[in-house]
Symmetry: C2
Subunit: 380 residues, 2 copies
């Protein structure tokens, strides 16, 4: 067996999910509970009924690639040739990391707290990962200085998920400009920014940065999973400069060949329908309002929700996140994700998703507050 | 950039395909031209309309995994836990090669002629590949002795595509038993057989071996692409013993997360419908008959068609395959795939697919014969 594969530990998130009961309020979910808009599925069905399900080109249907490129219009990356359609944003990021970085010489810098997929992918490739941790005292806001300070002589790429899973923080434009200025002033080989934009359409602040607008050495990954409640469709993409894209398409071709033709037809319908990529945005905006209200009333320390569909609350009095999450399931039947699942930098925090609707979110937050704060009081 | 990715050459098959004209008889196709049966698509559509498109477990829908395991009933691998649903058989084989073999110590033995995906995937992983070549004088029949002779002290797995792309040969049961006996008698760490069964439902001989029936250290990959004309659905699977499966599921989880939920619903409909996995088998059997007749009448040297939907003919008088393929497009407007695309062992041969229907296949073979044999005569 390949020791790199065997060494990867199992998923803590899955361990927690396995404890869920039929009665549980599940705030552990990492995917929308909305249903996708049927018209996009119908359009895809009409296409495959007429044309069958043939392979597309490795990089995807050229028309879809052009639609995606033109929707985002990142400077220097706005043509079909700058897009590779992938099996969700998971394969997108995997192909980017695998193609861009040389395990013999390059390091990947991960901005933490972060979903652990980047670290796991890098481990699969034998790549060295370094991390730079945003400050808890600063509500884990993206901090250009700290990111720049994390760079080593071997750092070749920095991965940033903004809006962030788990923190819900987004890198503001001014901070992103500081980061880019710092990268530009370094000299030497450029360092890439890998922007995981998976929560882009769940963004609630005015000044969230799109790194692809600011910096030539940016590669963007995204998908329809969160924006259009299509996690199970596995349709994502990479947006990158041409030279790097050529290598990525080769890598993608031998890993999965091409993305699903039905899924690509769904994506075409979405990108051809004005506003469809944001068709769920209003729902999330309203749900966020409710959640923020519930959090403010709860007495818990919570992070600002710049974007994503997560809220994060602190376990009082230095309590450990895994124990707190297990207790919350056992004692008040609420599923949350312990911060430790996102790196040691997020120990002491819980991630709550609020995709299950306002009532469940409010009830869940209320139960969590009663339990955690009541428990904390009892201990004092 | 990762030099392993950059070093992989572009696809010769794609280069040839790019020369195709609107008028061409295309015998280069590597996918069915039949349409998929609509009822399976309808069943999947009904499912996703009702349930949305949520993630499945990383390894796939447990019911689908059980259906697949029970259809093949390979000893020791007939439970849901022995199956991982993947993004087509391409990701299946990629995950198998990546998970099973340690680039630091292990070699992959490829039985040639072979589709070059195995070699390219191994190159992506930094794995050393060795090859063992079947004999042209023997019509490239699978030869257990030659396969065993190709084993080195570092060989940990042997990949066999049977029925074979490109040759159309299948490993007969008696030959497979000789191979297995040879592997068993070696002692030391077992050597794995990786059986790419992608053309399993286009098998036309009675004694084609299923390696999973004969040998405990077999891992099988397959998909719906060829059997049900669903290349663009990207739905495949791995069948493997439990211990190895655990590592493969981890690898699959970080490469693509999980297979498409719509595609899994299509697969469920197929495996739940008696006979559906072989619903196109009669069409292929009939088409093969027509093609064999045309080949026999053509005067060309052709390989027996044990399985697959390819026929292979020899370029007369030691002609080179790439030049012959280019001439055939230019002079008689027929697209074929040069044997050199499948390794130097298949130089001098052309692969013709016969999925485009009897008329086109017959016309194409007739034009090829006139051109190649006419040309050969002129030269003498």
């Amino acid at each position: 067996m390949n020791p790199r594969v065997e060494a990867i530990p199992g998923s803590l998130i899955r361990q927690i999910a396995a404890k869920k009961r039929a009665t549980s309020i599940d705030l552990g979910l990492g995917e929308p509970s909305l249903l996708p808009t049927p018209s996009h599925l119908d359009a895809a069905m009409a296409y495959v009924r007429a044309h069958g399900l043939r392979y597309t080109q490795n990089a995807g249907d050229p028309e879809l690639r052009a639609l995606i490129a033109r929707y985002y219009r990142y400077p220097g990356m706005s043509e079909a040739e700058n897009v590779c359609v992938t099996t969700g944003s998971q394969e997108a990021m995997y192909v980017v990391i695998k193609s861009l970085l040389n395990p013999a010489t390059d390091e990947l810098l991960v901005v933490e707290p972060a979903f652990q997929s980047y670290v796991k992918m890098a481990a699969l490739e034998g790549l060295t990962v370094t991390t730079t941790v945003m400050r808890e005292n600063d509500d884990f806001a993206f901090d250009a200085e700290r990111i720049l300070a994390g760079i080593t002589p071997r750092t070749r790429a920095i991965v940033i998920c903004s809006p962030c899973n788990p923190t819900g923080r987004s890198i503001p434009r001014a901070e992103a400009e500081k980061l880019v200025a710092g990268l530009r002033s370094r000299g030497g080989d450029p360092i890439w920014l890998l922007h995981d934009e998976i929560y882009r359409e769940q963004s609630f602040i005015d000044d969230a940065a799109e790194l692809g607008q600011l910096y030539d050495y940016t590669i963007v990954t995204n998908s329809l999973s969160k924006s259009n409640a299509l996690t199970g469709l596995r349709l994502g993409w990479i947006i990158a400069p041409r030279r790097e894209m050529d290598a990525m398409i080769k890598c993608h071709a031998w890993v999965t060949s091409c993305a699903d033709t039905f899924a690509q037809a769904v994506a075409k319908s979405i990108f051809e329908t004005p506003g469809a990529i944001r068709e769920h945005a209003a729902w999330y905006s309203e749900a966020r309002g409710t959640v923020m209200h519930a959090l403010a009333a709860s007495g818990l320390r919570a992070l600002p929700i710049d974007g994503s569909f997560y809220a994060c609350v602190q376990v009082p009095d230095g309590g450990l996140s895994l124990q707190a999450a297990l207790n919350l399931i056992d004692d008040v039947d609420v599923v949350t994700i312990p911060g430790i699942a996102f790196g040691s930098s997020f120990e002491g925090w819980l991630r709550l998703s609020w995709v299950a609707g306002s009532e469940k979110s409010q009830a869940g937050i209320s139960r969590i507050a009663n339990h955690l704060l009541g428990h904390a009081k009892k201990q004092t």
